[in-house]
Every structure is written in structure tokens, then in C-alpha cells.
């Protein structure tokens, strides 16, 4: 169960008309290390992990959906007023043919999102290490996206998102530490 707040986690401003950037940003929308994959990965893993880290997965998985909205807003702002000609020039001709200006869960190369991007091994350590790796890959992706734009407002939003990946990675590593702790003697029922 969720409660929805009708605002973004962090304000999204885009000041440069640059539909080309939308094509690259979509990597964080429907890519392997994007926000959709992150949210679904964490929320799905909650069921088969020790109780003391379920809450963390709920919180971070939920925040990833908030990030997904921010990316969607960036892409939407960059494409909503683009002419067909501009979209073609931005490398989005194939996207227009398939989707008009609708957003779609695909990566920067147009490959549609697939559940094969996420993992649920059932082993708590393996799953948390997967999550740590995913956060580092998302951080790297944000760095490459920041490299590709000179719009200070867009960069501001991307820098916020990049920092959140760093925090999440640490939280997952703390979760591993919690699971490593020696507990009371094993009891069999």
C-alpha cells in the first residue's frame, strides 16, 4: 500500500531545448540499471529476505519510483514540443514511428525493458550485492548523462539523482553488515 504525494521528490527544471538528450535520458527510464528496474528489483526481493532489511527495500524501492517520475518529467519536457523533424534529428525517428511522443520503457538504444534486467536469487547476500552493484551502475550512468549535457538545470536534477545512488549503495552495504552479525544460538523447531 502506498500513499502518493502529487509532487516530485526534487524539482525538475530543463532550460535548454535539446530533444537529443531525451534519447540518452531514457536509459535511466527503461534501461538495465534504470529506475524502473531498480524499483521492481528491490520491491520484489522484500518477500524472501530477513525481516530486518525488508523495510529498507520498501523505502528504497519506493524512492526509485520517485526518481522514475523525475526522469519521466525530464524526457517529457524535452520531447513534448519537439517537431517531427527535430525528433528525427535527435535520433528519435524510430521512437516517433512507434510511440509518437509517448514515453516508453526502453533504453537509449531503443531496446524494450525486460524482467531479465533484474534478479532475485533468494540468497540474501547475493540479492543485496546485486542491489549494491545496481546502485553503482546507476551512479555511473548518471555521470555519463551529466557529461552529455551543458544544461545547468538538467544537470542539477541529475546530480541529485546521482547522489541518491551513493546513499542507497551505502544503505545496502549496511544491510549486508546487519545480516553478517552473529545471532543467538541456532534453534530448531
Amino acid at each position: 500500500m502506498w500513499i502518493y504525494e502529487k509532487k516530485l521528490q526534487y524539482p525538475v527544471r530543463v532550460s535548454k531545448c535539446d530533444p537529443r538528450m531525451a534519447k540518452f535520458l531514457i536509459e535511466q527510464y527503461g534501461g538495465a540499471d534504470g529506475e524502473l528496474a531498480a524499483a521492481l528489483r528491490y520491491l520484489n526481493q522484500r518477500y524472501s529476505i530477513p525481516d530486518k532489511v525488508i523495510g529498507l527495500l520498501t523505502d528504497i524501492g519506493t524512492e526509485e519510483f520517485a526518481h522514475l517520475e523525475m526522469i519521466a518529467t525530464m524526457v517529457y519536457k524535452l520531447t513534448k514540443d519537439a517537431t517531427v523533424e527535430q525528433l528525427e534529428e535527435a535520433g528519435l525517428g524510430a521512437h516517433y514511428a512507434n510511440h509518437d511522443r509517448a514515453l516508453f520503457y526502453n533504453n537509449a538504444a531503443g531496446v524494450p525493458w525486460t524482467a531479465a534486467y533484474i534478479q532475485a536469487k533468494g540468497d540474501p547476500i547475493a540479492d543485496l550485492y546485486e542491489d549494491i552493484a545496481a546502485e553503482e551502475k546507476a551512479r555511473a550512468t548518471y555521470q555519463w548523462l551529466i557529461d552529455m549535457t551543458d544544461d545547468p538545470d538538467l544537470k542539477d536534477g541529475l546530480k541529485f539523482l546521482r547522489e541518491r545512488e551513493i546513499v542507497h549503495s551505502l544503505r545496502f552495504r549496511e544491510a549486508v553488515e546487519l545480516l553478517k552479525e552473529e545471532q543467538e544460538r541456532k534453534k530448531f523447531f
Binding site: 530477513p50 540468497d123 545480516l179 553478517k180
Partner: protein, 74 residues
Amino acid sequence: MHSQTRVYYPYVSPFDPCPPMRVKTYVVPPNLFIQFQPPGLPQFSAPEALRHGVLWPALYSPYEGRDRKGRERK
């Protein structure tokens, strides 16, 4: 050496359809506890090392599998 198995007791609802598994276990292998392997760790003999798949007892992680009731084998 400390145990490589951890135990937790998942929430059990009074409305669960199947008999509850009250104890769940997972493995914390020794690599989790070694940031960077120090030099000079004790070593197995060569034949022992071959059987264990590793030269150093500190890195050895036995796993005997779970039985069909979900418990770890001794």
C-alpha cells in the same frame, strides 16, 4: 571459526495456508569478512587444499545442502 550460517525467524501469519517454516537460514561465506587477504595465513597441505578447493582454511566454506524440510544438514 565462527558459524557461516545465519538464522532468522520470519513473520508467521495466523492465516497462512501452509504449515509455517518458522526458521530460515542463509550462508555468510568467509569472503564477506575478509576485506583484503593478509599474507601468511595458515595453509592446508597440498592434498587437503585440492580437496577443499582452496589453500587457506580461513577461506573455506563448507556447504552440505538443505534437507527437504529446509533445515541445514549437519
